[in-house]
């Protein structure tokens, strides 16, 4: 099978790997690059578990060709923290008990980061809208929505 080298930036670091013909970005990141944080939930763009940022915009990596990342900046949940210091979204998720089984969490965090990057003070409705493509089966969403609002600094932490 023909393989193509793909050079891109992953969470701020130069990265390169061979992509197979027709390989999607999710499979490329997980199997070829070794970033296991994006999750395969449906492979059909229906669950948001594979969400990554490409040049700051959220993309469903299961529906994106690996080559689409060439020369671009890719961000995943594994790059959110700075060393041992958690990102404010991760802190807020922990405070609010916004992850249970944790499987949808990387995609949720990435979708939430995209929102806060473009809209630092979202309304509750804007948070819900931004997360409506990400399925969570454990939490009922409420703590996730609260966590994103907390991270936005809309109000003081409880």
């Amino acid at each position: 099978m023909a393989k193509k080298p793909v050079t891109f930036t992953l969470n701020g670091r130069e990265s390169a790997a061979f992509a197979e013909e027709g390989q999607n970005l999710l499979d490329f990141l997980r199997r070829s690059v070794g970033d296991l944080s994006p999750k395969y939930g449906c492979g059909q763009g229906g669950c948001g578990g594979c969400t990554v940022l490409i040049d700051g915009e959220p993309h469903l990596s299961c529906l994106t060709l690996a080559e689409a990342a060439a020369g671009r900046k890719v961000e995943t949940a594994s790059g959110l923290a700075t060393g041992p210091v958690l990102h404010r979204l991760q802190e807020a998720f922990m405070e609010r008990f916004a992850a249970q089984c944790g499987f949808c969490t990387p995609g949720m965090l990435v979708s939430a980061k995209a929102l806060l990057d473009r809209n630092p003070r979202p309304t509750r409705e804007e948070v819900i809208e931004a997360l409506s493509g990400n399925l969570c089966r454990c939490t009922g969403y409420e703590p996730i929505i609260e966590a994103v609002l907390d991270a936005a600094g809309e109000r003081a932490r409880a």
Partner: protein, 791 residues
């Protein structure tokens, strides 16, 4: 002031650090050196005779290592069923063979016909497409009433009438129930469907089989709620691998909700193929494959009759239920509509006479088994729906009719007429709390406000009870269970005082790694950080039964307490030696052993060190080391209960239902971590709302699943759910387990669907639209159709 440590503290979860940084270790994140990939060729028809499977050309395709068919598995066992039900006539249930790969016939869309193992997944998939399969399609049966009509095709030759069993409970009560209903002042009858659901944990199922040629050991990595159970079922009943040569590891698991309890064909296949090929074999379900292979939930059709006296007191209940088993018996399928359902038909009420008939039916659909609540949501739904209907018919307020029939708080322990005996409860207390937090008093004003906007507002409630921590083993054995229902724990205190707990419970979102250390911290007077929880690996802990039925803290936690008590007892003996005091005089508090009335004391860590460096130690009377194991088999179920309310607005023009508020007042007994309990209730309610408003697994008449993806099966999304008011301050501790806990995992999914349906019907009826029932999910089209037919 809220506690910041031990039992009752809302400690943040330690597992979150890995989940939030993308470092969770789920089965698909595991890659074994040299692994190969399995792809299953599955039936696209619901029922058919396999005429031929030609793998010759496909076997020669690039990367293919071997193609397996049903013939390869004729010498091993089929997937076992873990519960045998006996019919009213004394015959045991029909239990047809469930082969690893289909043999002779296919019986549902998704039934595996062949499996390709290749060097890459793409090659395995390509080869599967090249397999020549000839199937002679047979008529399929999907509808349960049709299946048992006598005119339907037989799913299995052994069950020509498609009847798995015909169960009556309590059979001795049947005539008395019939008589009570015949002579009652009022009888309310309701026919309803409990819609078929797909559990849909966000992580699809995955299995990796690995064989070590040097040791002859097999290892299975799998997405399971109970790895020891999988080891037992697969090792002893399917593949014939002794347990000491088989290790099952269930690492981080991305949600279970029941559907990851069961032993699935893919687990046995990957273990078998890894040994046959001497290579690791990995399989990851794609989502559409999950829809047609994960065991589904619910799917009951019930007629319920409730007899009442003139004051609205319940006299008798009679039910007749058809329960869909699907095409094969999944691991615990027969127990769900019977012992997990009939025994709950008393609910929170004093109804003296109850009779349930359940006919379990084979159809050409995916097997149906336990899904969050398992039998108890079905019981609660029919009961709480028929009570609301009776209240409306008799002109009694829905809160009042329930209060008139509640088991009073001073009547516990309470023996129900359906075998189970409730130890504790206070149903008026949770109803009082609900009325307060849902602001029943202000509802009519809110209704009037909605009416001004042309909307119909409704308030609906339910009172539920569930039975958790199913037990004791000797009783469930008499009822047909083929497994024990104890739990185990090993508590190992290391030489430097660090503690490892190996539990048979499995955490797949419940937060055991946080809550179990809270209990140990409370008992040993140490920080939680000193305690590590090990679970999900048969190679590291004693035989355990896993996590389902809200049993982890009530049964697994109790086992851990028992093992920890043994540690304290032994440590006291060691401390008595170190302090040169009589063991009876040794006290233990806050991590320090002391002698009453003296200043002698020795801390826990010093005792642990003495146990492992036994220089000054009574070796003649006490063994070195500080490690204890306990198996805990509960003497009874636990009985969490509560009252739920939903407030909705219905648009009479479109039938659209807007859920405005949801309130839950639960009694879980003692609570270890309130934050986690609240999260469990939230999640359960979300799934119950999903069932009531959105979700339904739909088959066409030919047995094709029409809802096989997230485009067709409506999962609740962030914009579908309201804010919740959740309270668990009403606490009647369980009297028969050492922690006084009851379990909280399923409550939300049990109590919420009837509250929602009752709310919508309240909105319609109060708005002058006489509708007695709408089957779930209450989609706009169904509600609109009901409104039109009432006009």
């Amino acid at each position: 002031m809220p506690k910041d440590s031990g039992i009752g503290a809302s400690i943040k979860r330690r597992e979150d650090v890995r989940f939030l940084t993308g470092a969770g270790n789920y089965t698909d994140d595991i890659n074994v050196a040299g692994q190969t990939y399995a792809y299953f060729l599955r039936s696209t028809v619901a029922h058919g005779k396999i005429v031929s499977v030609d793998t010759a050309a496909a076997s020669k395709m690039p990367g293919v290592l071997r193609i397996f068919t049903g013939a390869d598995f004729e010498a091993v066992g089929g997937l076992p069923c873990g519960w045998q039900i006996t019919s009213r006539n004394g015959e045991v249930m029909k239990e047809p063979r469930h082969p690893i790969l289909a043999s002779g016939k296919v019986r549902h869309v998704g039934d595996p016909i062949a499996a390709v193992v290749a060097k890459s997944l793409a090659e395995a998939r390509d080869a599967a497409e090249a397999i020549g399969v000839e199937i002679e399609e047979l008529p399929a049966v999907v509808d349960m009433r049709a299946a048992i009509s006598g005119a339907a095709p037989a799913v299995h030759d052994e069950a020509p009438d498609n009847l798995c069993y015909d169960w009556g409970f309590v059979e001795e009560n049947r005539e008395a129930v019939d008589a009570a209903i015949k002579s009652a002042h009022h009888v309310t009858t309701l026919e309803l469907t409990n819609n078929r659901l797909v559990a849909n944990p966000m992580e699809p199922r995955v299995a990796i089989g690995d064989f070590n040629r040097a040791s002859g050991d097999s290892t299975l990595y799998t997405t399971s709620q109970n790895p020891h159970v999988i080891r037992l079922l697969m090792g002893a009943f399917v593949l014939g691998i002794p347990e000491h040569k088989l290790r099952v590891i269930a690492p981080d698991v991305g949600g279970g909700f029941g559907t990851k309890i069961f032993h699935y064909a893919e687990e046995a296949f990957c273990t078998f193929a890894a040994k046959a090929l001497n290579k690791p074999v990995k399989w990851t379900a794609d989502r559409s494959e999950a829809f047609i292979t994960d065991a589904h939930g619910r799917d009951h059709v019930t007629k319920i009759e409730l007899a009442l006296d003139k004051d609205g007191k319940f006299l008798a209940i009679r039910t007749a239920t058809l329960a869909n088993m699907g095409a094969y018996l999944s691991t615990f399928a027969p127990s769900v509509p019977t012992w997990l359902h009939g025994t709950l038909m008393a609910g929170t009420y004093t109804t003296p006479l109850i009779y349930c008939n359940v006919k379990a039916v084979f159809t050409n659909t995916v097997p149906v088994d336990a899904y969050r609540g398992a039998g108890r949501p079905e019981a609660t739904f029919q009961l709480e729906r028929v009570i609301d209907k009776a209240a409306r018919e008799m002109g009694i307020d829905p809160v009042e009719i329930r209060r008139r029939n509640f088991i009073p708080a001073d009547a516990f322990p309470y023996q129900t007429p359906v075998a189970v005996a409730y130890d504790t409860g206070d149903y008026h207390a949770t109803m009082d709390k609900l009325v307060e937090i849902a602001d029943f008093a202000g509802f009519e004003a809110r209704r009037a406000e909605s009416a001004k906007r042309g909307k119909l507002r409704g308030l609906g409630l339910s009172s539920y009870i569930e039975a958790c921590g199913i037990a004791p083993s000797n009783l469930v054995g008499q009822l047909g269970a083929r497994a024990g229902l104890y739990e185990s724990a090993t508590v190992r205190v290391n030489a430097a005082g660090g503690i490892v707990v190996m539990t048979g419970s499995h955490s797949h979102g419940q937060g055991h790694e946080t809550t179990f250390p809270q209990v140990i911290a409370e008992m040993f007077g140490c920080p939680e950080a000193n305690v590590e929880i090990v679970h999900g690996d048969t190679g590291r802990g004693p035989m355990g039964m896993g996590t389902y039925g809200s049993r982890s803290i009530a049964v697994g936690g109790a086992a851990m307490v028992r093992a920890a008590e043994k540690i304290i007892a032994k440590a006291k003996r060691i401390a008595s030696h170190l302090m040169e005091a009589a063991v009876e005089d040794v006290e233990f508090a806050n991590g320090v052993f002391s002698v009453a009335g003296t200043d002698k004391k020795v801390d826990f860590g010093s005792v642990a060190l003495a146990a492992y460096v036994p220089h000054n130690y009574p070796l003649e009377s006490i063994e070195p080391g500080l490690e204890e194991t306990a198996f805990y088999d509960p003497s009874n179920f636990t009985y969490p209960a509560g009252a739920y309310a939903a407030e909705v607005e219905v648009d009479p023009e479109t039938g659209a239902v807007t859920l405005l508020a949801f309130s839950a007042a639960d009694d879980f007994g003692n609570v270890i971590n309130p934050m986690i309990v609240t999260g469990q209730v939230h999640g359960g309610i979300a799934q119950g709302i999903g069932q009531a408003l959105l979700e339904s697994a739909v088959y066409d008449a030919n047995g094709q699943l029409l809802t096989g993806s997230y485009m067709d099966y409506a999962m609740p999304r962030a914009d579908d759910l309201p804010m919740y008011a959740v309270d668990h301050s009403c606490q009647t501790p369980c009297t028969h387990n050492p922690l006084g806990v009851k379990g909280c995992g399923e409550a939300g999914a049990i109590g919420s669907p009837p509250a929602l349906v009752n709310a919508v019907l309240d909105a319609l009826n109060a708005g002058g639209i006489g509708v007695e029932h709408i089957d779930m999910p209450l989609s706009p089209s169904r509600v609109w159709a009901a409104i039109q037919s009432a006009k």
